[in-house]
Symmetry: D2
Subunit: 306 residues, 4 copies
C-alpha cells in the first residue's frame, strides 16, 4: 500500500498515479504521509519536493530529516497543467461561478480573464476540493479549475485544458520509503542529501562544494537552509548527479562525512528525466579503479638490494 500527501485529486495524487494504479491512502500533511512510512502503515509515499502548486514543499525536506531515517527511492516530474471542469458539457459563455484554489486562480489569471471575463472566481481550500464541490449535482458553482486527475476522479467533463498562463512549468515529487538496499544504478541517477557545516564561516560552502568538484560530481540543486538549533547557522540541501554506488559519488560522500558534523543521506534514485550526466576525464569508475591500482603499485614488492 502506498500513501501520498492528499487530498485526492491533487497534482501529488496525479504523481502517484504514474507509479501505481492501486488504491492508495491520502494523508492530510507531508508529515502524516511520511510518518505512515516510518510506522509501516504504508510501504512508501509520494510527497512534493519542488515548485508545488499546492504547497508542502519546504516542509518536505524538513520532515525527511526529522524522526527516524527515510530514503528517497524515486523521483516523479509532473507538468503543471490546469483544466476547466464542469458537471456536463457547457459553453464557456454560460459559466458564471468558478471555484478553485487561489494559486491556481493566480496561475490561470490571463486565461480566465480572456475566456471567462464575466465569471466570478471563488477560492476553495484546494483545487481538488473545488472539483469535488462542483461534482455535487446541487452545487451552485458551474466549473472548477483543477488538475486533470481531479476532473476524472469526480466524473467531470473537461471543457478546456492547459489553461495555465506559463506553459512548460513542472513540479517535482519524490517517492519515499524506509532505508534499505539502494535502488540499482541506471547511469542516470540522482543523490539527495543535507550537509551541515561546522561553523558559519564564509568558506564552509566552498569546502562542501569542493568535495564534489574534485571528484567530478555536478550538482543539480543547492539550497541553503537555516538550521533550527542555532540562530544564524545554515545547512545545505543538495541534489548531486550520480549514485552512491558510483565511485566518484561514494568518495565525495566520504569526504562530506569527514568535514561536516552531520550529513543526512536521503537516497540515490533514478532521475525522472533519465538524462545521463557527462562524466569528465578522470571520474569514471574505471579511472578510479586504475588510480587505486597505481597507488597500490607505488609500494613495489621487489626489494631493493645491495
Amino acid at each position: 500500500m502506498l500513501g501520498y500527501f492528499g487530498p485526492k485529486g491533487t497534482f501529488t495524487h496525479q504523481a502517484l498515479r504514474t507509479v501505481s494504479d492501486d488504491e492508495a491512502i491520502a494523508f492530510p500533511s507531508v508529515r502524516a504521509a511520511l510518518d505512515a512510512v516510518r510506522t509501516g502503515e504504508v510501504r512508501a509515499a509520494v510527497v512534493p519536493i519542488e515548485n508545488s502548486v499546492e504547497g508542502g514543499v519546504s516542509a518536505t525536506l524538513d520532515e525527511l530529516i526529522a524522526g527516524s531515517p527515510l530514503a528517497i527511492i524515486g523521483e516523479i516530474v509532473i507538468p503543471v497543467e490546469f483544466g476547466l471542469y464542469a458537471r456536463e458539457e457547457l459553453r464557456l459563455e454560460d459559466i458564471r461561478q468558478v471555484l478553485t484554489h487561489g494559486h491556481a486562480a493566480a496561475q490561470c489569471r490571463e486565461w480566465l480573464a480572456t475566456h471567462l471575463p464575466n465569471a466570478n472566481i471563488t477560492e476553495a481550500g484546494s483545487t481538488a476540493g473545488a472539483a469535488a464541490e462542483v461534482s455535487r449535482p446541487d452545487s451552485h458553482y458551474d466549473a472548477a479549475v483543477s488538475a486533470r486527475v481531479a476532473g476524472r476522479l469526480y466524473g467531470l467533463t473537461e471543457l478546456a485544458y492547459q489553461i495555465e498562463d506559463n506553459p512548460g512549468a513542472v513540479t517535482r515529487f519524490v517517492l519515499v520509503g524506509r532505508p534499505g538496499p539502494l535502488p540499482g544504478r541506471t547511469g542516470a541517477d540522482k543523490t539527495t542529501l543535507v550537509a551541515y557545516m561546522r561553523e558559519d564561516h564564509s568558506g564552509a560552502l566552498l569546502e562542501i562544494l569542493q568535495q564534489f568538484a574534485v571528484r567530478g560530481v555536478n550538482l543539480s540543486r543547492i539550497e541553503s537552509r537555516p538550521t533550527k538549533t542555532t540562530l544564524g547557522s545554515y545547512c545545505f540541501s543538495i541534489d548531486a548527479e550520480g549514485h552512491a554506488h558510483d565511485r566518484r559519488m561514494a568518495e565525495a560522500l566520504e569526504g562530506l562525512h569527514r568535514i561536516c558534523p552531520t550529513v543526512h543521506f536521503l537516497g540515490s534514485y533514478p532521475r525522472a528525466d533519465k538524462v545521463r550526466p557527462s562524466i569528465g576525464i578522470g571520474f569514471s569508475d574505471a579511472e578510479f579503479d586504475e588510480a587505486s591500482a597505481w597507488v597500490q603499485g607505488l609500494d613495489r614488492e621487489t626489494v631493493t638490494r645491495d
Copy 2:
C-alpha cells in the same frame, strides 16, 4: 500608498503593519502586488520571500526579475505564530467546528489534537478567510485558526495564542520599491541578487562563490533555480552580507558582472535582525583604500637616472 500580497489578515498583512499603519492595498497575487509597484499604483509592496505559511514564495523571486526592474528596500521577519479566534469568549470544550487553512491545521496539529480532540477541522482557502467567515454572526463555525492580525481585523476574541507545534519559526518578507538611490548603509545590511552562469559546468557555482570569498563577503542564503529559457540550466539566487556601497561588496558585484552573462541586482537594504557581520582582516573599506593607494604607489614618480 503601500500594497501587499493579500488578502487582509495574513502574515504578509501583519508584516506590512510593522512598516506602516496607513491604509494599504491588498493584491490577489505576488505578481499583482509587484506590478502595482511597477506601474506606480503603489509606492512599494510587501511580499513573502521565505518560508511563508501562505505560499507565494517561489513566485516572488521569479516575479522580481520578470518585467521592469524592482528593488528590495527593506526586510521584515515575522514569527509564525497562530491563535484560536472566536466571536466571543468560549470554553475550549464547547468548540465543535474549527475553520482554517490546511497548512495552519498541519502546523497546529498536536495542539488541536490535545486541546480540541472532538472538534471538526474544516479547510478554508486561507486563514484570513477563515477568520472572516467566523466573524459572521450566523456562521456555523465556532472558531478559526489564524494569524493574530486576522483575529483583530475581524473583531474576534483570542482564545489561545502560540498554538503552533514548532515554536520559534519565522517567515521573511521584503518591501519592494522601484529602483532609485540605495537605502543608506547601516553596517548591518544585506544585498540580494540573482546570478546566471555562463554554462552548466560543475565549476560555475564555485566561480561565483569565489568572487564573494576572495573579497571576504559572506553569504546568508543561496539557492539554485532552474532558468526558464534553457532546460538543465541554472541560476543562483543569493543573499550576501553587506551593502553595495561597501567596497568589498562593490568589487564582488563587479566580479560577478564580468563572469556572469546576467546579474540581476535586487537591492541593498538593512537586515531585519540588525546583526552586523564580522569583517575579516583585509576587507574593511579602509583596507581597500589602503591597498588601492599601495598599488598606485608602485608607479613611483621619482625617475631613475644614470
Copy 3:
C-alpha cells in the same frame, strides 16, 4: 653605466650584451651587483634568475627583497650553448688538455666523450676563467669549454659550437634598476612579486592563487621559499602574466596586499618571449571599466516617489 654578476665572459655577460654594448662593470656576486644599483654606482644590473649554469640564482630572489627596494625592469633569455675554444685552429684529435667549469663539463659530457675521448678534463672556477687561462700563450691547456662571449672576449678560435648534450635549454636573467615609473605596457608583460602568507595553513597558497584566478590572471612561475624569520614558514615567489597597469593585475595586487602581511612588488616589465597572454572573457580593461560603471549605476539618481 650598467653592472652585471661577473666575471667577464659568462652567460650573464652575454645577457648584458643583448641590452647594451657599452662598457659595464662586473661584480663578484649578485649581492654586490644589486648593491651597486642601490647605491647608484650603476644605473641597473643584469643578474641570473632561473636555471643559470653559473649559479647565483637562488641568491638573486633573496637579494632582491633584502635591503632597499629594487625593481626588475627587463627580462633576458639566453640559450645555454657551449663552444670549444682554443688559441688557434686545432684538430680535435690533437687536443689533450681541456679546462672548464664542472657544470659545463657535466652538460657537455656526451659530446666530450665522443669527440675528445682521450682528452683530460680539468675543472676551473668558471668557464670564463677557463677561457682566460687558455688565452695565455704559455698555458698548458689546449682548449676551454665556455660561452661564446668568453671565446670572443679572449680572442680564441671556435673549434665547435652547440656541444651541449641537451640542446634547447635556456637561462633567464633580469635587468634590475631602482624603483621609478614602471616600464610602459607592451601587452606582453610580466609582473614579479613575493607574497608572504599570514600563517602556515594548508589554505594559504590556495587563497593567494585565487586572488589571481578570480581576476583571470595566469601565473607563469610559482615557487615556495622558506622565510628566514620563522622556522617552517613560507612565502611564494611568483611571476604573473600582465602588467600592474592592467586592471585585472592591479586588482589582484590589491587583493594580495589585503590578505598577505607582506607583498614585495618586484616590477612589471616586457616578457623576453614577447608572447601576449590570452585574456579570458570578462578580464579586459574594457570589461573592468564596464563592470565598474554597472555597479555605479545601481545607485540610480531618479528618486522613487509616492
Copy 4:
C-alpha cells in the same frame, strides 16, 4: 655501497657522512650518481635538492624523473657552515693567500673583509678542491674556505668556523635508491612528486592543490617548472606532508593520478626535521575508515517490505 655527488669534501659528502661512515663513491655529476643507482653500481646515492652551495640542485629534480624510476628514501638537512683551514696553526694576520669557490667567497664576504682585510682571495673550482690544494706542502695558498668535512679530509687545521655571513642557513639533500617497498611510516614523513598539468590554463594549479586541500594534506614545497616537451607548459614539483600509506595522502595521490596526464611519484620518506604534521579534523586514518564504513552502511541490508 653508497654514492654521492662529489667531489670529496663537499657538503654533499658531509650529508652522506650522516647516513654512513663506510666508504662511498664520489660521482662527477648528479646524473652520474643517479645513473649509478639505476645500474646497481651503488645501492643508493646522496644528491643535493635545495639551496646547495655547490650547485646541482635544479639538475637533481630533472634527473630524478629522467630515465628509469628512482625513489627518494631519505632526507638530510645540513647547516651551511664554512670554516677557514690551513696546513698548520696560523695567526689570521699572517694569511696572505686564500683559495675557495666563488659562492663560498660570496657567502663569507663580510667575515673575510673584517678578519682578513689584506688577504688575496682566489677562486677554485670547488671548496673541496681548494682544501685539497691547500693541503699540499708546497702550495702557495695559505688557507682554504670550505666545509668542515673537507678540512678534516685533507688533514687541515681549523683556524675559524661558522664564518658565513648569514648563520642558520641549511641545505637539503636526498638519499635516492631504486623503487621498492616504501620506507615505513614514522608519523613525520614527506612525499615528493612531480605533477604535470593537462593544459596551460589558469585553473590547473588550483585543481592540483585542491586535490591535496580537500584531503587535508599540507604542502611544504611547491615549484613550477617548465616541461621540456612543450614550450610554455609547466609541471609542478611538490613536497607534501605525509606518507603514501596515510589514507589522506593515498586518496590525494589517486586524485592527482586521475586529473593529471602524468604524475611522477618520487617517494615517501621520513622528514629530516622529524616534525609531525598537525592533522586537521576529519583527516586521520581512523576518520577515513569511519567515513568509508558510513558510506558502505548507506546500502542497508534490511529489505523494505510491504
